[in-house]
Amino acid sequence: MTSKFNISLKNVHKHFGKNHVLKGVSASISKGEVVCVIGPSGSGKSTILRCINGLESYESGSILAGGIEVDSSRPSIIEVRTLISMVFQRFNLFPHRTVLENVIEGPIFVKKQSIEMAEYFGRELLKRVGLSNKERAYPPQLSGGQMQRVAIARALAMNPEAILFDEPTSALDPELVGEVLSVMRYLAEEGMTMLVATHEMDFARSVADRVIFLDEGQIVEEGSAMKILTAPEHPRTQHFLHRILTRS
């Protein structure tokens, strides 16, 4: 079934009360692609990711993930979530469990792996994100960058088809952003399917296969990272990029 995994959104609409946050979003992400979603705060970037994972419901349109209709009120949502992992802006690690326990929680209790196997793969993943020496630490003892790398290892431990990154570096001190982005870059090179909501334009430029510019709940423009970030056609994209790039 997953020989050609993909995620597709068709004309998705979502309201928060009277606020129309997604106004007919259509997009698709194929296996192995790295897609960055950029856009101003409140443009709906996070909401798209959260809808794909069933953390938010949507009123109309459809979202398919690996051929399964994403519907947060149906039991099949659990299957969707084991196919697609998520990394959050605020990490959301389990503070009462050690780093290794955070990583193996899903494999043991959701995927029913044996403890030995889960621990073996968990340690391998911690090695990959450079945190082998922290496996017995508790999340509150770590820096933000370390916590986010644990969160990425936790997402990888589910052996997902794709990972959604919801502004993974926005809550980090500037000097800690690099270590998280380099782990993500490494994943992208390995061929992981990634959908990343981000404000990191350098990351998008150097890693993304495709960039989607979202504004006021609509996709204004999408295309190759090069095209969108260096020669955007739409004035709203130009305006946004100008503001972002002249900020610092």
């Binding site: 994972n53 069933g54 953390l55 659990i78 299957e79 979530r81 084991t82 992992s85 998520m86 959050f88 605020r90 990490f91 959301n92 690690l93 389990f94 503070p95 009462h96 929680e105 899903g106 209790f109 959701v110 995927k111 509150p140 936790r154 589910m158």
Partner: protein, 215 residues
């Protein structure tokens, strides 16, 4: 008050202490389990369960424990449910305190960061699994100091069981005082015995509060 009196009264009162401990522990366990049931119904997301739980908790919170005890001991036999005094005491106090336990547990569950729910969901956890592995362990830490205070309250309110003839400490004290007219000696002894049982619990609560502040 003299020593010989104390030496005579104390063994009699200590018999009562035994039942006080039994009723307190019984009610503590019963109220904890039932409190968990109420709160899980409350946060389950099912309208019917939430309503049942809300009403049960309101009724239990809104009526005196004394009346609840009388009801269980004197009224239930009319519909064929006859309990011993100790059973009625444990069930009555357990029921009454389950409402407070449930409210405390609820405040703990609500204090757990919503990001934890999202992280658990995004890992593909079912609701029961999320509760068991992610939410309840974190809520437990938050509610422990208040839980300790509830233990102290149950210990003291176990004296209400004397009104339905449970021969616990307060009951023994009353009988002893009214039969010997040594009110001051007996009641002072009774008060001290309760205090000796509460003080360890009070220091436990203090320790739990300090630990909570640290984390």
């Amino acid at each position: 008050m003299n020593l010989s009196e104390i030496l005579i009264f104390l063994p009699i009162l200590l018999e009562g202490v035994k039942l006080t401990v039994i009723v307190t522990f019984g009610a503590l366990i019963f109220s904890t389990v039932l409190g968990l049931v109420w709160v899980l119904m409350r946060v389950s997301g099912y309208w019917v369960l939430r309503k049942i739980s809300t009403w049960a908790v309101n009724i239990l919170r809104g009526t005196p424990i004394l009346i609840q005890l009388f009801y269980i001991y004197f009224v239930l036999p009319e519909i064929g449910i006859t309990l011993t005094a100790v059973q009625a005491g444990i069930i009555g106090l357990g029921l009454a305190f389950s409402a407070y336990q449930s409210e405390n547990f609820r405040s703990g569950i609500e204090a757990v960061d919503h990001g934890q729910v999202e992280a658990a969901q995004s890992l593909g956890m079912s609701w029961p699994l999320m509760m068991r592995r992610v939410i309840l362990p974190q809520a437990a830490r938050i509610v422990l100091p208040t839980y300790g205070n509830t233990m102290i309250m149950i210990l003291k309110d176990s004296s209400l069981a004397s009104t339905i003839t449970v021969a616990e400490l307060a009951f023994k004290g009353q009988i002893l005082a009214s039969s010997t007219f040594k009110y001051s000696t007996v009641l002072t002894l009774v008060a001290f015995l309760y205090l000796f049982m509460s003080l360890p619990l009070i220091s436990l609560v203090g320790w739990l509060e300090r630990r909570k502040k640290k984390s």
